[in-house]
Amino acid sequence: MNPVHLELKNVSRAVFRRVNKTRVKTQILSSLDLIVQRGELVTIMGPSGSGKTTLLRLINRLAEADSGSIMLNGKDIKEYDPFELRRKVGMVFQIPVVFRGSVNENLAVGMKLWGYENDIYALARDCVIPLELLNADAEQLSVGEKQRVCIARALANQPEVLLLDEPTSALDAASAEKIETLLLNLRKEKGLTMVWITHDREQAKRTGGKRYFLRNGRLEEDHE
């Protein structure tokens, strides 16, 4: 068995929601545990508002857990420099956000930030981005193309873990299938650890990874 790569212990998180001008506290994650081995893919399912996105945001440290600990390579993520942590733990959002400029400039963000020498062409090829699109305005691309740019941009940082927040839910069926295949191939080729949020049980089954269901703030393994 591969060593533990990512471990969440007793993680809780509440959010405040505005209801009729008053802030109402809602506990969305409570004493949640999760262990992910190096190179493993796990899928997390659950209804809207169950805390799936929040869970990924805590791992990437875009938000802070109220209690509990999240360990990466056996070290608490709070002990990492937050910028370095986010380089190691890439994140792909549900709605792809491309930055102003060309596809090329989007893919080069990581290089600028971290001083890496990346082969943009190889990156584009890996993520099935046609080379003739490299100089195109990223904001003019289709949603599926934008999502591929976002995946390539995250991979340009050479992450160890990739967090995927419903990466295909904003896409039509054909684009969704392409992105799904792309992600599964990338995992195979690069040995990436992946935490994949999806609301589609069939997709979760297709990934072949361990499946969890987020219910009442905790993860339950899905054996169906």
Binding site: L62, E64, G90, F93, V97, F99
Partner: protein, 249 residues
């Protein structure tokens, strides 16, 4: 006698404007602001009357008080974010005072309270307006472009990189009125200093020269103050772990 007629006209206009503005739900605000402005300007006139006879350092104290009030106004516009108050005071003070110095160093105006206070207040007032607009827009941009800012953060970018497009938009939006004013100077309106000098009997050329010098100084101060303010207030929108604050209203 003329001043009494001018004051009476002002009171009548404020009352009419407030009455009309009631249909938009801002009648109370207009009447309060109008009354405040009349009272404040009369108090200011009385203070200036005394100040003109006092030693110069009193003028500096007045200018610094103006900066503090301007800084607080801008801070309020930011949604009272941490660190914005000192940043606003610093940016308004440094930009205004830096642009004020050449007028006296080059001998355009004699170093006397009657020149120092009005010129200083023009610069402070304008930088306050632009700084308030800039921070308000910056906050709005960060809030509306949360997804973009967080996409940058998720790649390991720092707050300055993540918010740079918002900062640029904040400065640009705040400067649009100043840029438009500069473009239309003399075409659509005759600005305040020039009007005042013409009314006081100065030659149009002298009035125009002074006006353009003040106008460009205002623009430079606006540019500098808005840049400094947004630069120093960026960290207020983020936590120590470079997370975009969740309580931005």
């Amino acid at each position: 006698m003329n001043e009494l007629i001018a004051l009476a006209l002002t009171v009548i206009l404020v009352m009419l404007a407030a009455a009309y503005a009631r249909r938009f739900g801002i009648g109370k605000e207009i009447s309060l602001s109008g009354t405040r402005s009349i009272v404040q300007i009369l108090i200011l006139a009385s203070i200036i009357l005394v100040l003109f006879k006092l030693p110069l350092y009193w003028s500096l104290i007045v200018l610094l008080t103006m900066v503090a009030i301007a800084g607080h106004t801008t801070y309020t516009r930011s949604g009272k974010l941490d660190k914005v108050f000192p940043a606003a005071i610093f940016s308004i003070a440094s930009a205004s005072l830096l642009m004020l110095v050449p007028f006296f160093l080059l001998g355009i105006f004699p170093l006397e309270p009657q020149y120092l206070i009005p010129t200083g207040s023009i610069l402070i007032g304008n930088t306050m307006n632009v700084s308030s607009l800039a921070i308000d827009r910056y906050r709005g941009e960060i809030k509306n472009r949360r997804n973009e800012v967080e996409a940058y953060l998720a790649l390991g970018a720092g707050p300055k990189v993540a918010a740079s497009a918002c900062l640029k938009q904040g400065i640009l939006s705040a400067l649009i009125p100043s840029i438009d004013n500069m473009k239309n100077l003399g075409l659509v309106w005759i600005p305040g200093v020039m009007t005042g000098m013409l009314l006081a009997g100065a030659s149009p050329f002298t009035a125009a020269s002074i006006q353009i010098a003040i106008f460009t100084s205002i623009f430079a101060a606006d540019l500098m103050a808005s840049n400094l303010l947004l630069h120093y207030s960026t960290s207020s929108f983020f936590t120590g772990a470079a997370q975009l604050r969740e309580d931005l209203e």
